[in-house]
Assembly symmetry: C2
Homo-oligomer: 465 residues x 2
């Protein structure tokens, strides 16, 4: 099988042996220093590429050889699906060590994605029962709500702390705060409930023996652990802050969510939408995954597509006689359905974008109908004339041109209307527009396209033959 592997361009590697091959060799020889050197010098992209070239066994061995901190660092750079795969392969105690080293949002994501059996085993290996309970709770939040996105790097102090105590604490534990945002401190009461917020700036400019409860801004704005992406987006747009504290339903401070966290989640959702609209359900295929999983996942989307295609094909079957009489129509059937499908997909994309941006809502269907109707009539006529003229000249038949051109014009109008409306209807029905819009649209435009060409043709049958 090795001859089937990609030849690597030597200019991109330090010498002629690609780095993933060197790592494979070093793994076999257990030469940990070589591996550390290669990984240490590799960019994040290179690390991802190297990992995806290793077999599952090799990856497992790699994690065993590397010190826990370096494995954790590697995990932070990997794509989530790669990290999940790897975590499932590792012995539970090693996995637990890695999980403890990771930032809370990442460990929560990973524990959520792996098998429940695995996550239970990993959590059982975590010595600190409080941390284990925290992780379990965290992994139960959906990835796309505030609870799933928040970081636990939030700095809070009890109300009774003085300014001097805070400053001393910061100085003494500066290492613990190295990755926390200390521009704002949160203030909590004895029950861990969020009661105030305090800017570091204010603290710095205040008398050292003041209690922070006298300086804090009371009842600060916060978001609930359950807040959805849409709610968070609105909240961040309206209030111009970099981050907000996240509280649970008892008002307890649970974490901090930043604009960066939110933007990252929005970007993930976009990617997922794009993949779904191309028939990659779940949005998580990488070519390093097992072949069986990849085949089955893709077939799961293609299967229903066969049925939809049969539905469309049955329209042609019902008009076989017309087709037999004017065989030239068979040339234009796929063209008419494909061209209008493209027009309709443009309308789908605009609707999905406008829905995402909040410019339209499902109840705005009359506006979409009106706006797409005008565009459809215009583009339908233009495209119909172009294809009609081509057909008439090609097959030297004005009637054929009229049949094909008018069918394309009508089908384009219909297709942009449907394309504009289907995402709204799906959103209303709480079905994901990115996943279902395109197959539904294509089936409709195929059926209508075939029907229009063949039924208009049957009207002109004497002139066409």
């Amino acid at each position: 099988m090795s001859t089937l592997e990609a030849p690597e361009d030597p200019h991109f590697e330090e010498n002629n042996t690609p780095r993933w091959k060197k790592i494979k060799d070093a793994l076999e020889a257990q030469e940990i220093e070589i591996i550390q050197k290669i990984l240490g010098e590799a960019t994040v992209d290179d690390q991802r590429r190297i990992i995806s070239r290793l077999s599952l066994d090799e990856r497992e061995q790699l994690c065993k050889l590397l010190p826990i901190e370096e494995t954790a660092q590697l995990f932070e750079h990997l794509i989530e699906e790669q990290a999940t795969e790897l975590l499932e392969e590792m012995p539970a105690d090693v996995a637990a060590d890695v999980i403890e080293e990771l930032p809370a949002d990442l460990s929560g994501d990973l524990l959520r994605e792996i098998d429940e059996k695995n996550s239970t085993a990993i959590l059982a290996e975590i010595d600190d029962s409080e941390e284990s309970a925290e992780l379990l709770e965290r992994s139960k939040f959906a990835w796309d709500c505030a609870g799933g996105l928040m970081s636990d790097r939030v700095v809070s102090f009890p109300e009774t702390t003085t300014v001097q105590e805070v400053l001393t604490d910061l100085g003494e534990h500066s290492e613990d705060y190295s990755d926390a945002d200390v521009q704002y401190f949160y203030v909590v009461d004895s029950g861990q409930k969020l009661t105030g917020v305090l800017a570091l700036r204010t603290l710095v400019l205040s008398k050292r023996n003041t209690a922070i409860s006298d300086l804090m801004i009371q009842d600060p704005m916060s978001v609930s652990v359950d807040a959805t992406l849409e709610e968070l987006e609105d909240f961040f747009e309206e209030k111009n802050y970099l981050g907000f504290p996240v509280v649970d339903d008892q008002g307890k401070l649970r974490g901090l969510i930043s604009r960066g966290d939110l933007n990252e989640a929005l970007s993930d959702r976009q990617t997922e939408g794009y993949l779904k609209s191309s028939g990659i359900v779940g949005g998580e295929e990488l070519r390093s995954m097992p072949l069986k999983d990849r085949c089955l996942r893709r077939l799961a989307w293609l299967g229903p597509n066969i049925l939809l295609n049969l539905l469309a094909a049955s329209v042609i079957a019902a008009h076989e006689e017309t087709l037999q009489a004017v065989i030239a129509l068979a040339i234009f059937l796929p063209m008419v359905s494909d061209m209008s499908g493209c027009s309709g997909n443009q309308a789908v994309a605009v609707s999905i974008r406008e829905l995402t941006l909040g410019v339209i809502q499902p109840r705005d269907y009359m506006r979409v109908l009106f706006k797409e109707g005008l565009l459809g009539i215009n583009n339908g006529i233009v495209l119909g004339i172009v294809l009609g003229v081509i057909a008439a000249i090609w097959k030297d038949s004005v009637y054929l041109g009229v049949v094909v051109g008018s069918a394309l014009a009508l089908n384009t109008i219909l297709s942009v209307l449907l394309g504009g409306l289907i995402p709204l209807a799906l959103k209303k029905l709480k079905v994901d527009p990115a996943l279902a819009s395109s197959p539904i649209l294509t089936t409709c435009t195929d059926m209508c396209g075939f029907f229009l060409v063949l039924s208009v043709a049957s009207l002109f049958l004497t002139q066409l033959t």
Copy 2:
């Protein structure tokens, strides 16, 4: 035309008149308080929806009536295309006032997007010549490089400043720093060159009469104004910081780029990719734009598509006799090309994602060929058998089943291979894979699908008729 407007659901509005209608009325009556009240109570999404319902004239009037600060605030909430349209409609002096109120990254984006004639006129109206030059320079950066993404809310002090002076300045000008990230200060020499960075934390815990040059970390990490999205992504992934100073080629401090800025840009690029792959070129259509522009933009993508479709149709035309002899084939022609097109598009989506994530590079074509080949053989055989059995039963002909099934199997294999490779080839040729992959793939799979069905059929012509 008013009867064509969308009926609004009364439950969503305060009373039966939708808000955008109320604003239209208030604009006519010049009742500014009503407008301020409605906009003040509206969410960001609602503001976007209301603005997209107003005509250009009405929007212009709205901006004239609102105080400059409120117009600027509205601009921050609008979608970029809405804001650009609006800016082009406003008198240059009003537009200049608005631009001055906006954060630098947004004003830079807007000035870049509007006509050069307009932007020159607006810049000429800005009194402060230094600010005007800064804005001009800024608008010349591409949106997706560090210079286009950076914020100017960076806090810097000359090297000779003492700790006490910094603290005093912070206290006295706290309002100016309200939207700046003061967790880190940057230190510059007399020529504005970046020489160091200093954490607020360090400052707070230091003797008040120390010069900050004695406390700062020298030669801090920084990114160049020209750094691309890919470079920034790598940089942020490797160094675990929330933000970096941006410097020009002379080493002068120009701004600050945060992880949030980067993530937002990555999200924008994702959306653009999705829209492009659906044939919305430029990624900027909103239904509030003029009909003519929308039609022309969509046709610009559909036009070349007609040619590609004709190419595919010519394959059918070349086999008209086979088709005439076995008319049932016409039913399965669109099915075979469509089904394999779907399979190929799945591979396109996975390749584009892996390219974006950095898991593969254009030179990894052998890996893609191998991984997609295995999957294609598997899924091709499954789908071929399914469609073959359906065809054989439907038309009561084993030979027809064999022809259709084997054509689909072969075309699926070909299509996933092409789908996997086309994005790599386009990336190598520096063509955007999101824009061109799908049309090229579809044309190829249509042509091959038609050819395979019809040429395999011509081999079995006696058995089929």
